[in-house]
Symmetry: C2
Subunit: 374 residues, 2 copies
């Protein structure tokens, strides 16, 4: 657990937060009622008092929230042992939700300049301003690389953003999603309608449960594509970075089927990435590739993806054969819900470029990727 | 001036810092003597006292440094109106230099995980860990796009990193650099030897002065390439983002000559970028392109470049005709100083990929770029 606010290790223990009445239905956490929201101006006022500490004035804060604001007035900071020595901070306008599920802490806040923000166990998962880059890339990199995908499985992705992108592809008949944490789904539906719109597609079947267990029960060769939209390999997502999981994924894919997984940052996690690539090279007998995208609110400003295919018809991930522009047009004709939202980040040029690796990454990974990069 | 530390607007006024004896020669600022360096452990100790503020304990800090650490114990945070509502922070091990030149505040610190860091007017300019991406891309994107460059001008770039990269190109006979702030050069030579190594090349001629004035005196058509390695368009670099400057650059280039300028972040500064592109489209009658690179310690995790050519032999920036691998090999044979340092970020694949723009950027810029992107 690394719920920390810069400056001190302020642990977000639910015991410290007075219980509040949930505004909505299925949410176990504390939905912050409108009248309890702490506008930034108040936070600033509380902090400005406390900033007189060097005059010997140390006012006693009346609530846990005021205590927080005395340390980092009005800002959320992402501190983690996974990116030691650095932290990205966003200015908070309002906290909208604070809860603790069976798996993790769940927080939603309205930021000053990145829209609403979803935080799990202290780590930013999405902001309204830049979620397009992650959701579009993790989805269309695999789905535009194979012709005519019909059955897709999403593991994780409980916010619905990947579903929103998958649903642009009209060839798809069945979209299964297995998310371990129902609170993430409920929070997304409540606070991120532009993201959770993905659940509105009638082709979507939501399963709440463990992804590894779900895969065990899937008949061999079921899916054309599996997208693993996980958080970092600490906490509930840890198993999604281990060998048995990749083996289960390979088993659930048809020959020449594809998987795309969240695969950390080239700048920060090269040892982890090398381990993942090694496992994938053992597991997937088709191609094994690494791609990445710019992503401002993720550590180091970028995030990578493993893209692999099973033995069977070869897949050339670097050159999309199922371009999204064609899909969009078709979807527009059929008026699927997400067809009304234009793509913000992905296009076919960005697709191919995503596989270009900085030299330091080439030096580390090139010999393990297949087909070879050059 | 936006010298702020997260939490309060702590202005870095030189008056508040006790004068210290400079350890070295030409530096006007305060080189922090070894015995005066504040190790992180001390900072933490001071801060941990102050963190008892809510118990009513508010110890009086004995120095300005302790005052600082009471707000953000041991961290540097980059807060600026140019990226409102967000801030990137690095954990500080030691402050190595704090000075104020005629143009800006200059700070060097040793960070916990990014090596040494150069900060100008509160904004991170380079860290040892990721400077490779910026320096290699801003240099090789233009120089690998033309055959046989001989005369190159660098404007800004006083840390020497661009010079280090330029010097890999053995066709080059003359490398002029015009940096406005001598303190930047001196600090780089003192604290960043792997970067300022670029000054060791005998082809380099250093001019301390204003870039706009320097260009005025340059005979028309002098340079094959001009690289503008500026800070943001606030403070001393402001003139480097304005029309007269671009016109002076175009005049100083030979027909079919190229310029590469630092051009902000696609995610954060689209209006500024559109203005720059518009000015360039008026000024450069060859091609006008935008490229970008990942850059973890710059806001939004990426930074862009304008790449333009003057009327004359056409330049296709997207497909390098003067690959660096060939240059490196030649340089190795001739044993130029920088030839012993391998490239860390740039390669020909990354070069081409850098011109791939996210859809939101295509929507904003595509019609103004030439030749057209698709």
């Amino acid at each position: 657990m690394w719920w920390e606010w810069l400056g001190v290790g302020w642990v977000m223990a639910e015991l410290e937060v007075p219980a509040k009445r949930a505004r909505n239905d299925g949410l176990d956490g504390d939905v912050v009622d409108e009248e309890e929201l702490v506008p930034a101006s108040d936070v600033t006022n509380a902090a400005s008092l406390i900033s007189h500490e060097n005059d010997g004035v140390a006012p006693a804060p009346s609530t846990a929230r005021a205590n927080l604001s005395s340390i980092m007035p009005g800002w959320f900071s992402e501190v983690s042992p996974m990116w030691p020595g650095e932290a990205h901070s966003l200015k908070v306008e309002k906290f909208l939700f604070e809860g603790k599920s069976d798996f993790q802490d769940v927080v939603v806040f309205e930021s000053a300049t990145y829209g609403r923000v979803l935080v799990l166990d202290g780590v930013i998962q999405l902001t309204q301003r830049d979620e397009c880059a992650y959701q579009e890339m993790i989805t269309h990199l695999p789905l535009c690389s194979i012709a005519n995908p019909k059955k897709v499985l999403v593991i994780g992705g409980g916010d619905g953003g990947v579903l929103r992108e998958v649903s642009r592809h009209i060839s798809i008949e069945q979209i299964d999603i297995c998310e371990i944490d129902k609170m993430v789904v409920d929070v997304a539906k409540e606070f991120f309608p532009d993201v959770s719109i993905g659940f509105d597609d009638p082709r979507v079947n939501l399963h709440i449960g463990d992804g590894v267990a779900f895969l065990r029960d899937v008949p061999e060769g079921t899916y054309d594509a599996i997208i693993v939209d996980s958080s970092d390999p600490v906490g509930p997502a840890q198993a999604l970075f281990e060998r048995p999981f990749y083996q289960a994924v390979a088993r659930a894919l048809r020959p020449g089927g594809v998987v795309c997984t969240q695969a950390e940052s080239l700048w920060l996690h090269m040892p982890t990435i090398k381990e993942i690539v090694t496992v994938c090279r053992h597991t997937f007998k088709g191609s094994v590739n690494y791609a990445w995208t710019s992503m401002p609110t993720y550590p180091s400003g970028c995030i990578g993806f493993m893209l692999c295919s099973t033995e069977g018809p070869p897949v050339d991930f670097r050159h999309p054969i199922n371009p999204i522009s064609q899909q969009q047009q078709l979807a527009g004709e059929q008026e699927k819900p997400s067809s009304r939202l234009p793509l913000k980040y992905y296009n076919s040029t960005v697709h191919t470029a995503a596989f270009s690796l900085p030299q330091f990454a080439m030096d580390n990974l090139e010999s393990m990727l297949t087909p070879p990069l050059s």
